[in-house]
């Protein structure tokens, strides 16, 4: 179990309720959620639709604040930050990749990547150089002057990843970054995100429905109706892992089933105890097993 000093994210007894509105009742999106993510960790957050994944990720990224509880990221207690400090936190400490509407449509790829640097007043020349370098790193250097509407979904996500890395964040948060992508693009996007994690030691948290995507991570946090119901250590997906969508959906289910059997239990609020590098073993084959986990790939 990593101590507080080694954790990039410490969530303690976090609740998030959406107040009742008119006929709509109050929604308890997160209930008593506690966990830690060690520096350099790769964590997938998995759960059925409406379980609170995005809510949780938004809280980690300072896009939203918990109703109760505390969230400490990189040593900063987000619940104590002013609006201005939160904006700065979002610009410098985290890099966000969303499922859709990631890029500003009127701006070119390069200009989109420059945005977070503009937010922290980086000089124009420096921002441009770094943007081009990042676009090169994600293989989009030739599309620097293109607007998003001339790029495929996967290409847009690569640009979005470049943008997320612009200010060298300690934590990269991705909310279903591969949700709209085909297998090839999904693989490219996940490879990029994990490369950054490996090379730069950036902590990665990915929300996903998809076991294949989750397989790129060390740990999967399972969330069900606003509670963390378990935490499993993954065998990482490798390049040879068959993509469930491409090959056989059963493969994904099988992978899940294996997670369960090797898993580190389902106790609530279990802190992650393993750093990167644990459970690295290529998934061997496809063994169809019953799985209570909601694991449809595209819901």
């Amino acid at each position: 179990m990593s101590d507080a000093a080694g954790s990039v994210v410490i969530a303690e007894k976090v609740y998030r309720e959406y107040a009742a509105q008119g006929d709509a009742e109050e929604v308890k999106a997160l209930r008593n959620v506690s966990f830690r993510i060690p520096k350099g960790g790769r964590v997938a957050i998995k759960g059925e639709s409406g379980s609170g994944k995005s809510t949780l990720l938004n809280l980690l990224g300072g896009l939203d604040l918990p109703s109760r509880g505390s969230i400490v990221v990189n040593g900063q207690d987000l619940t104590n930050l002013s609006e201005r400090e939160l904006a700065r936190f979002r610009a410098t400490t985290v890099g966000f990749v969303f499922q859709a509407f990631n890029l500003v449509p009127t701006l070119t790829a390069r200009e989109n990547v420059e945005l977070p640097m503009e937010a922290v007043n980086t000089g124009a020349a420096e921002a441009k150089d770094r943007a081009l370098a990042l676009l090169e790193a994600v293989g989009m250097e030739e599309r620097a002057a293109h607007r998003p509407n001339r790029m495929s979904g996967g290409e847009q996500q690569r640009v979005a990843i470049a943008r997320a890395l612009a200010n060298r964040p300690a934590l990269v948060l991705a909310d279903e970054p591969t949700g709209n992508l085909d297998t090839k693009s999904r693989r490219a996007v996940m490879r990029l995100l994990t490369e950054v994690n490996e090379k730069e030691g950036t902590t990665l948290v990915v929300v996903t429905h998809n076991s294949y995507t989750a397989g790129y991570c060390d740990t999967t946090l399972r969330i069900h109706r606003g509670r963390i119901i378990g935490q499993v250590t993954n065998r990482r997906t490798s390049e040879t892992t068959p993509d469930p969508e491409e090959e056989d959906d059963a493969a994904a289910d099988a992978a899940d089933a294996e997670e369960e059997s090797t898993g580190s239990g389902r106790d609530e609020r279990a802190p992650t105890s393993k750093g990167p590098g644990t459970g690295r073993k290529p998934t061997a084959g496809a063994r169809k097993t019953d799985d209570d986990d909601d694991d449809d790939d595209d819901s």
């Binding site: 938004n58 966000f96 969303f98 509407f101 990631n102 945005l115 503009e118 937010a119």
Partner: protein, 417 residues
């Protein structure tokens, strides 16, 4: 990528919208500029007209419009006036408007007014020709043919006629005209600027009095040695002349009948200029709201990736100011091009509503003379006013989007549908 160029790109994203906004804002802003320029110019003209008569006192019969035979003063006032100190000169003015019957058909200027009538004016001193009996002020009359009346003409049967009269009656200097049956020789033709009193005949007072068998003048205009003495002269004249005679400083006198035309111009242009401002502001609010409504997610995304409220506010304000600046060039061109036409229209419409003796024909021309002199050049004042309104429009237009953006929670905005 600067904030400015990003804002410009957002504002100019659609060519059709850009042109539409430029036209709508340009027209509203130019309407405001033109109307306020008319308002300002007319006030200035009135002020200078009043300044020109600052040392004049008008004596006229109480309870009369002063424009008809029933408003004549008794002839024996002159010696009484002469007793009052600080008076430099005294000038009798006889007005006769055949065909104009006051008090009939709902009063002067409203109904039963002949479309055309000639104003005959008999005056003592030819030097007063330029002031045209103390009305209107300034140097309204220019001799365009022949000569003006001089002091040697005082006891002769001569006249000068307005250009309208001259062309209507085919008159040139040397022609003989009939004034109420008495023959007068025309010595000159004058032009009256924009036409005020163009259909009129000016005669030496004795000739006019004889021709119309007038018992006395309609007005006596008294020139005071210094405007500082005006109040004391007015009060002494009131004492000396008693009731039945009204004594007023000419600068205040021009209130009454003329004032209604002026007031009508001033109040309508003021109201309309405010309406134009309101329309321009409404255009801004609507277009900026449209411009930012589809961009809620984009603005939320900017917040999500670390843009603080200050930066968002700066961008939206820049967009508002840029949008509103689109209208400025159109407004300035339209102001210069359309100003005089609008001014003429305002003059015509205000004179048809502004009643007064002489009605449309007489005071319509007065109004157009007041408005006609207003300039619509690109003076620094107009540029400044235009720029100021543009800036205000920019702020007004961005207020709502900014208020919305500040309340926007990034988590809501980036939530995918």
């Amino acid at each position: 990528m600067s904030l400015f160029s990003r804002a410009a790109r957002n504002v100019l994203r659609s060519r059709v919208r850009t042109i539409g906004v430029a036209l709508a804002l340009g027209i509203a802003l130019s309407a405001f500029l033109i109307l306020s320029q008319i308002n300002y110019g007319v006030s200035e003209n009135v002020a200078s007209a009043r300044a020109a008569v600052a040392d004049l006192v008008t004596v006229q019969s109480a309870n009369s419009s002063g424009f008809d035979a029933s408003s004549r003063l008794p002839n024996d006032l002159l010696p009484k006036i002469a007793e009052v100190p600080f008076i430099v000169s005294v000038q009798r003015v006889l007005l006769e408007t055949p065909g104009f019957t006051p008090g009939q058909g709902g009063g002067p200027g409203s109904g039963g007014m002949p479309a055309n009538f000639t104003l005959y004016e008999g005056i003592d001193s030819t030097s007063a020709v330029s002031s045209f009996g103390g009305f209107g002020g300034g140097s309204g009359l220019t001799i365009t043919a022949g000569s003006t009346l001089t002091s040697t003409d005082e006891n002769r049967s001569v006249a000068i006629v307005g250009s309208t009269y001259a062309s209507d009656h085919d008159v040139i200097p040397g022609s003989e005209i009939s004034v109420n049956g008495s023959g007068m020789q025309v010595v000159g033709v004058f032009s009256s600027g924009s036409g005020f009193g163009g259909d009129s005949v000016i005669l030496p007072y004795p000739a006019a009095a004889a021709a119309f068998a007038a018992s006395g003048p309609n007005f006596i205009t008294v020139t005071v040695s210094a405007s500082a003495d005006l109040d004391s002269v007015v009060s002494q004249l009131r004492t000396v002349l008693g009731s039945g005679v009204s004594v007023t400083a000419a600068s205040q006198n021009s209130g009454g009948a003329f004032g209604s035309a002026v007031d009508s111009i001033l109040s309508s242009t003021q109201f309309e200029s405010y309406a134009a401002l309101g329309i321009g502001a409404a255009v801004m609010v609507v277009v900026m709201a449209l411009l930012t409504a589809q961009r809620t997610r984009e603005i939320g995304l900017l917040k999500a990736i670390g843009f603080g409220n200050g930066k968002i506010l700066g961008q939206l304000l820049t967009e508002g100011l840029l949008l509103s600046a689109i209208g400025l060039p159109v407004a300035l061109v339209a102001t210069v091009a359309l100003g005089p036409t609008v001014a003429q229209y305002v003059a015509t419409s205000s004179s048809s509503s502004g009643a007064g003796p002489g009605g449309r024909h007489f005071f319509g021309n007065f109004a157009s003379r007041l408005v006609g002199g207003v300039s619509f050049a690109l003076t620094p004042e107009i540029l400044l006013l235009g720029a100021a309104v543009t800036i205000v429009f920019g702020f007004v237009g961005s207020a709502y989007p900014i208020a919305r953006a500040l309340r926007l929670r990034p988590a809501e905005a980036v939530r995918h549908e």
